[in-house]
């Protein structure tokens, strides 16, 4: 899935036309707003154009240049807001922040002529959509239009939740306390000895010392009896009987 802003050139029909949508996958046109200029990042406003809000993305198409258009998926819109303070921007507008590919430079370097432009677009983090036209509507009119667009943006954003990740994956490594307890019961009860805080691993502590215990086990082990003696006994029965008994349990 493409992240961030991208060029959009697929149009139907003649003249300005309309965007070709992915209707096979259920994309629907929700709203068409004529006479909208677009401000991409810090570039100058581009107009005239028409805004198409679909169930999946926001598309802006130039009314005069069929090759000019932008689109951004709702999945990439981190934030959208109503901006109506004339000091920050002269006209009421929809302000959006766009999530971009993380700063690592793994953007595909396409071989087409548009790659430079596309590369720039994919890094754009802000976009303003400014509805207005030559007619002298009162400023209040545009405030209402912008509020209305804002609500449509909200509804469409909610239509596009994050794709659900494979939840099952987590169960392999998430252990509940119960699971851990059950596993513990299968162990030699003596294992608690290692948890004795007065006897941390690696510290010698008399009879409780692990290395000392092992050492004594080995000394008493019949396998360590004089090999020649064993051979002289010549009693294979005895020899084999002892061997398993001598295993460290």
């Amino acid at each position: 899935m493409a992240v961030g802003l991208r060029q959009f050139t697929q149009r139907t029909g003649d003249g300005a036309g309309e965007p070709i949508l992915d209707t096979e996958n259920g994309e629907e046109l929700i709203r068409v707003q004529p006479s909208v200029s677009i401000v991409v990042g810090t570039r100058a406003p581009e107009s005239p154009g028409t805004l198409y809000i679909t169930s999946k993305q926001v598309v802006w198409l130039s009314d005069v240049d069929r090759a000019k258009g932008y689109a951004v998926d709702f999945l990439s819109l981190s934030l959208h807001a109503v901006s109506r303070d004339p000091e920050a921007y002269p006209s009421p507008c929809i302000y959006t922040q766009i999530e971009t590919e993380d700063d690592d430079e793994d953007v595909d370097e396409g071989s087409d002529n548009e790659s430079v432009e596309a590369l720039d677009l994919s890094k754009v983090t802000e976009m303003r959509l400014v509805p207005s036209d030559a007619s002298q509507y009162h400023r209040l009119h545009w405030c209402v239009v912008v509020d209305n667009l804002f609500e449509i943006f909200c509804e469409c954003a909610e239509l596009n939740p994050e794709p659900i990740e494979e939840e099952e994956e987590g169960h392999n490594w998430v252990f509940s306390a119960d699971q851990l307890e059950n596993e513990g019961t299968g162990e030699d009860p003596g294992w608690h000895f290692f948890q004795d805080p007065t006897n941390p691993i690696g510290h010698s502590n008399g009879d409780n010392d692990l290395a000392n215990n092992v050492l004594r086990l080995q000394i008493n082990d019949q396998r360590f009896e004089d090999a020649e003696e064993m051979e002289q006994e010549n009693e294979s029965d005895h020899h084999f009987k002892n061997a398993p008994n001598g295993e460290v349990a």
């Binding site: 934030l79 959208h80 109506r84 303070d85 954003a157």
Partner: protein, 93 residues
């Protein structure tokens, strides 16, 4: 759904939403949905010098997936209630 229910109780309260891009927006919690998308009203940007273009924004919709933290009003945090709720959630209840 724990946090969804919890945030719904905070509607009308003043919260600060910190985004993963470090932008922090303070405002009145207008609504929250099951994806933890957050709508704020009467917003103001905490670091106005860094984000002057956000000055004009008075209400906004923030996508749940880009939220890093939500700072809550201290008296909006009922620790006992949250303890119980998180335990219940952990048991899958």
């Amino acid at each position: 759904m724990l946090f969804f229910s919890y945030f719904k109780d905070l509607v009308g309260r003043e919260v600060t939403v910190e985004l993963k891009n470090d932008l922090a927006i303070r405002g009145t919690l207008h609504s929250v949905d099951q994806y933890l998308n957050i709508k704020l009203e009467n917003t103001r940007v905490v670091d106005q010098d860094k984000y002057p273009h956000m000055l004009s924004v008075r209400n906004c919709f923030i996508r749940g997936s880009v939220v890093r933290y939500v700072q809550l009003p201290p008296d909006g945090v009922d620790v006992d209630l949250l303890h119980d709720a998180t335990r219940r959630e952990a048991r899958g209840g």
